[in-house]
Symmetry: C2
Subunit: 145 residues, 2 copies
């Protein structure tokens, strides 16, 4: 197993995360995670994976067909010293029945500052429903909660 | 507007969040959020709401039919001094066409330590797909990413 890179910021770790996704590189992607039993990952299909073994297996399966054409846009960041929380939109180019199409997901990525640089502890992605305008109450969706 | 309570821990703030959901109390729920333009909320329908105005409107709509019978279980917590990240399963009792049923969601809740106690900065909930066993690689789902 190759040596994990040391990222000096959560932004750099996140950039490396999406770069590894684009290349379909499981080893590079898993090297970004913290060595912590409580790391958690939820993919857009809704499965909740806890621990590095389950997370690695899920990415191996995702990358079995190659990398994922993904761009992270519209980020909101909350910095808290040892933790950094990023909330963003993932734009994915996927090939569907009708050819290439753009799919958007909402993602929360959480990074922790360790002696080995910034590492990921949580990735939570889910399909984007609608883009609600912040100031328009009428645009609020009908939801369970 | 009533005075916002000061929560001495992120756990207490989260307990108050789900308590407000069960009571369908928008004011109590909104009093838990940080006064921050970047607060973000994603409900299980996938809309991404940024800012207190949009978040309030969404909860007002959710609570228009009353409170939500919700329990938070199986929590994983990452503490970072000023931020606290909680990843958990929400069990919701909803009334569907076939009567009462249990719906499960995955949720990420993030709290920040402020001079007014712990406040919420992010709530990201999405439908739970499957419960994957941590050690079974074969249970990994087929997903976009």
């Amino acid at each position: 197993m190759r040596r994990a890179p040391v990222h000096a910021s959560a932004d750099a770790a996140e950039e490396a995360f999406y770069d590894a996704m684009r290349r379909g590189d499981t080893d590079a992607l898993m090297a970004l995670w913290a060595d912590d039993e409580e790391v958690a990952c939820t993919h857009p299909n809704g499965a909740r994976l806890v621990g590095l073994v389950a997370i690695r297996a899920s990415f191996e399966q995702i990358f079995s067909g190659g990398g994922v054409a993904v761009q992270a846009v519209d980020r909101r960041v909350h910095e808290g010293g040892l933790l950094s929380v990023h909330h963003l939109i993932e734009q994915l180019a996927v090939t569907g029945r009708g050819g290439a199409e753009l799919v958007e997901c909402v993602a929360t990525n959480v990074f922790v500052k360790t002696v080995a640089g910034w590492r990921m502890v949580l990735h939570h992605a889910s399909p984007l429903g609608e883009r609600a305008a912040p100031a328009q109450a009428g645009s609020a969706p009908t939801v369970l909660h």
